[in-house]
């Protein structure tokens, strides 16, 4: 595996609407997608484009969402994960597992419609890393 593009930075927020307003007003974000639900993951997300990467705003759909737990510990919100692209998710899982890292759960379809997995923060210096198979038209 070679370190790939940073696809996005995942940022937990109690309110996508308020966060969008903050990024628009204070930082001058202009390319802001429409929020959409990912019910299988218990979240609503919204992508904000920077010139070279994206910010993924993540709001819990309900109290059982993993993001709800994050917000109980960080009520204002904050940085949740980093997502790097890989050419092939199965090859990435095999590589990480062979090196002794723990991949959390099975691959599932992420916000960009391709398979994703998460690596245990214990293996990554406290950082939650998502790996995302890069779209084929990339």
């Amino acid at each position: 595996m070679t370190l790939g593009r940073l696809n996005h930075i995942g940022i937990a927020t109690p309110s996508i609407e308020r966060s969008v307003e903050t990024y628009r007003t204070l930082l001058g974000a202009t390319a802001i997608g429409a929020p959409f639900d990912l019910p299988a993951q218990g979240v609503r997300v919204c992508f904000v484009d920077a010139p070279n990467t994206q910010i993924e705003l993540i709001e819990p759909l309900d109290d059982s969402s993993p993001i709800a737990g994050f917000l109980r510990r960080n009520p204002a919100g904050g940085q949740h994960h980093l997502c790097f692209e890989v050419p092939d998710i199965d090859a990435a899982i095999a590589d990480l597992t062979a090196k002794g890292a723990t991949v959390l759960g099975q691959p599932r379809i992420g916000a960009h419609g391709t398979p994703i997995i998460f690596v245990h923060p214990r293996d990554m210096g406290g950082l939650l890393v998502e790996l995302m198979e890069q779209p084929k038209d990339h």
Copy 2:
């Protein structure tokens, strides 16, 4: 102000050497700079390149470093800040201040040799945002 390039993601670590080894071994990072000290900020830093941005590993130089406080709360390390580029740091400060945001301290020279400031996380949904004047040869 228009949202600029994500220059880097700042990641606090108790050991740059161990983190470099993790990024190299598990994620396949290959472009890894030499660590260097920023004594005025109480930190040692090391840049790891992804294709479209950089990871800034940050280790405290001593117990009085702000990063030392972060590591007391997050002993394994973790995401510390996001740095976006701006064309002119003084214009960015004036803009943010006019909009009621709090800029922390005075501009100082950052790890890339240009002026930087931090925006209070209270204004940014719990996120610590660094703004960095883009290098003139950029």
